[in-house]
Amino acid sequence: MKPSNAVEWLDQRVPFLDAIQAARDRRVPDYATAFHRYLGGMAVILLGIEGLTGLLLTVYYVPDGAGNPAPAFTSISQIQDTVPLGWLVRGMHYWGAGALLMVLLFHMIAVLWTGGYRAPREVNWTIGVVLLLLVVAFALTGSLLPWNVNAYLARTTEIQIASGESVFPAAVSKQIKFLLQSGAVIGPATLLRFYVAHVILLPAVTGGLLYLHLKLVRRHGPAEPS
């Protein structure tokens, strides 16, 4: 099929036709069609859905935890009850996060079980584990954003665990806690900190590592079955 003039014009400036042709001409081993080999791709799809629904949620969400009820809480209630299809977007974002974690766990177990981490894929395995941890961080930061009682209390316990409250000296634990929640207790500053991590910091780091992960997956090809 001959590309149109517009496509040719674009390809001369931003070459992409050769890459598409190379992807189409690529040959892969038959064992690459096994079901568990698609779990990584499924995770990328879910990550995309999370990104898209998350972007839509930012249109109405207000990351402000001051007052009672705080705008963060009322904006979530508004998304859920008033905004057209808000319940759908929020629900897909919520359930998608759980599904993403589940799929990533199965992906990791499948790679581990079949030895897909072995040479030359060691570094890519480590990148994959870091990506899993980043998705956990996404879930942790995102689950505080509704700013309701349960999210508040559960995150309080988790920050206590992370700060080593009953293990490290009080000064050390206090510093870790301050770093995580920006104050003596979880408050509006914590919400803002978690929001920035959830929508800027974590997506940037995850995007970069995911690109590297996929590039290495393509470079090494599917691992031979053990």
């Binding site: 189409r24 759908l88 395995w125």
Partner: protein
């Protein structure tokens, strides 16, 4: 940087369309499934009561952290909140190095010809199955609620 591996086995096929078509199907499947879950699970995601800084009590953790909350009940905090979680994550991160360095030596000692992948390795296979089984058991225990109590050597019986 090349984008294809050097060697391909004899049994190979074109990536297009065989490796391409599952992705649009999976995308549509995921969108429909999540849409149905959002519809059916609306009552589970209602915001509830607003938070106010300083409130105290115990919140229900999200499912992926239930094991961590349960683990805390089973031993001294230094072990359950720091050593085990950090050790578990560190083991995962460096697992390929451990497997390639320690594994072959152990195989020689055991008189094995090679060090198989966990799927065919009774040592690493059992280790990982036991590890994940503990995580699942702790999660299920937490989900079952405080009604299920077990005798425990550290500070007496513990409840989920």
């Amino acid at each position: 940087v090349k984008d294809v591996p050097d060697e391909l086995p004899d049994e190979a096929h074109d990536a297009f369309p065989d490796q391409w078509w599952p992705y649009p199907v999976m995308t549509v499947g995921a969108l429909i499934t999540l849409g149905l879950m959002a519809f059916a699970g609306q009552s589970l995601v209602t915001p509830g009561q607003p938070a106010s800084p300083g409130i105290s009590g115990a919140g229900n953790p999200d499912w992926y952290f239930i094991f961590l909350h349960e683990l805390l009940k089973l031993g001294p905090p230094a072990i359950t909140s720091i050593l085990l979680p950090v050790g578990g994550v560190a083991t995962l991160l460096v697992w390929p190095l451990l497997d390639s360095m320690v594994g072959p030596r152990l195989a020689r000692r055991l008189g094995w010809r090679s060090w198989p992948t966990p799927r065919h390795n009774p040592i690493t296979g059992a280790l990982w199955v036991a590890g994940f089984a503990v995580l699942v058991a702790l999660t299920l225990w937490g989900l079952a609620g405080p009604g299920i109590c077990l005798p425990w050597f550290y500070q007496g019986p513990v409840c989920g």
